[in-house]
Symmetry: C2
Subunit: 231 residues, 2 copies
DNA sequence: ACCTGAACACCGTTCAAGT
DNA sequence: ACCTGAACACCGTTCAAGT
């Protein structure tokens, strides 16, 4: 894999640099994306990425403090290119649609879910990447929530969403190939009667994508709880 | 799929084995727990655990197929020793209390959260470790949910819970030492007005443990949605 | 100034051998 | 039968050099 380093970036049309320019931040992020799309995101490592670019692994540390920072930059870089959905005016629907968009993005970019499943991630993202947070908070505000209620609404929706995404992507990664296990049977009908009765159907129920329904129920209820406490 | 063979176990008080017994499954799990409590769970590795026990790393593969299986066994081993909370009769409260217990357990055992954040984890746990799943489903059933509604209720609560736990423990791990970042200021009041207005308070709001409130709101609403669709 | 190889300190897992 | 060291195929990160 001794790729020669990619020559000039897409420099406008003006003068050439005398010697091959250093690998740019953009080139690195594009290469990372390529690597992820080709080999899967769990294959993205500093060393592999460097090899892909034909540079030394250590050189990457001139552009990013550590791997986590690379992931954050990658997310910022690609989130702005994402198509923003048309958002309805009605506050409740606005929140739901923004959350669904956020969810879809995370399902498509499991690496982003890992980078961002940490409190305070909002402080790490570029402003242009924060539009879905903004929209959800704005929806809550428009509905009549206090600032604190709006933040707590966002956090609740966020935990539900990131939990669903992390479980889903890990489920897919584990049991690649192997079939998903069902219950160890027979279950003890005396100790866990409900689960014993359900055991045959659990798998089928769990295969249903119930995220959107749960989201709507949750958002509705969080908004209702806010206005209840206001009165 | 070489099932781990059962080792000697703790021989009662009867005859000694001639030579030191092989390391038993129980000894391994206790040592793992010790290691986690002493050095933190991210320090638990097959190699370290083997070193702790004074045996070769490869020997552990006689007891566990892989590291994930070790984590599952560890969870099964310790969850049965957990004190089960007194659960109220009333279905709604029963669900909430069981979920809170589940949440507290996961907060205390972050390694368990990692092992269990995968669909189908219920199939991996011992029956005695499934009591909180059973109780939540039983509560939903007692309330009048259909089997499918009960499973979806559990899943929704589960995603919310595991999301909160994973974010919380990762937040703690990252920013050990360093202080948690606040927003990069000043935020653009034109593009993200809500966040700009909130930026000073976000950190304080996010520091509040809002999980129990969110949980109650969610459970209430999920139950209400079930009975609404039944009529 | 910019980039590097070599090294450090680890991983999980496999497998041909030893006792 | 049970256990092992050595090896494989990797990691992220640091740092004293090189050009």
């Amino acid at each position: 894999m001794s790729r020669p380093r990619a020559a000039t970036g897409r420099s406008g049309g003006s003068g050439r640099t005398g010697r091959p320019p250093v690998t740019s931040r953009t080139e690195i992020l594009e290469a990372a994306r390529l690597l992820i799309d080709r080999d899967g995101w769990e294959k993205l490592s500093i060393r592999r990425l460097a090899a892909e670019l034909g540079i030394g692994a250590t050189t990457l540390y001139h552009h990013f403090g550590d791997k986590e920072e690379l992931l954050i930059q990658l997310l910022n870089h690609h989130i702005v290119q994402m198509e923003r959905p048309e958002l309805p005016q009605e506050p409740r629907e606005r929140i739901v649609v923004a959350a669904l968009a956020m969810h879809d993005m995370l399902i498509g970019w499991p690496w982003a879910a890992e980078a961002v499943s940490v409190d305070g991630f909002v402080a790490l993202l570029d402003e242009s990447a924060l539009w879905f947070v903004e929209e959800i908070v704005a929806g809550a505000d428009a509905y009549g929530c206090t600032p604190e209620q709006s933040v707590q609404l966002f956090r609740s929706v966020w935990y539900y969403t990131i939990g669903e995404v992390l479980v889903r992507t890990r489920t897919a990664r584990r049991w690649e190939g192997r079939e998903r296990p069902t219950f160890r049977d027979p279950l003890d009908t005396a100790r866990i009667p409900q689960l014993a009765a359900l055991s045959g159907n659990w798998g089928a129920f769990a295969a249903v994508d119930h995220y959107p329904q749960g989201l709507r129920v949750f958002v509705d209820a969080l908004l209702a709880a806010s206005s209840a406490s206001a009165s």
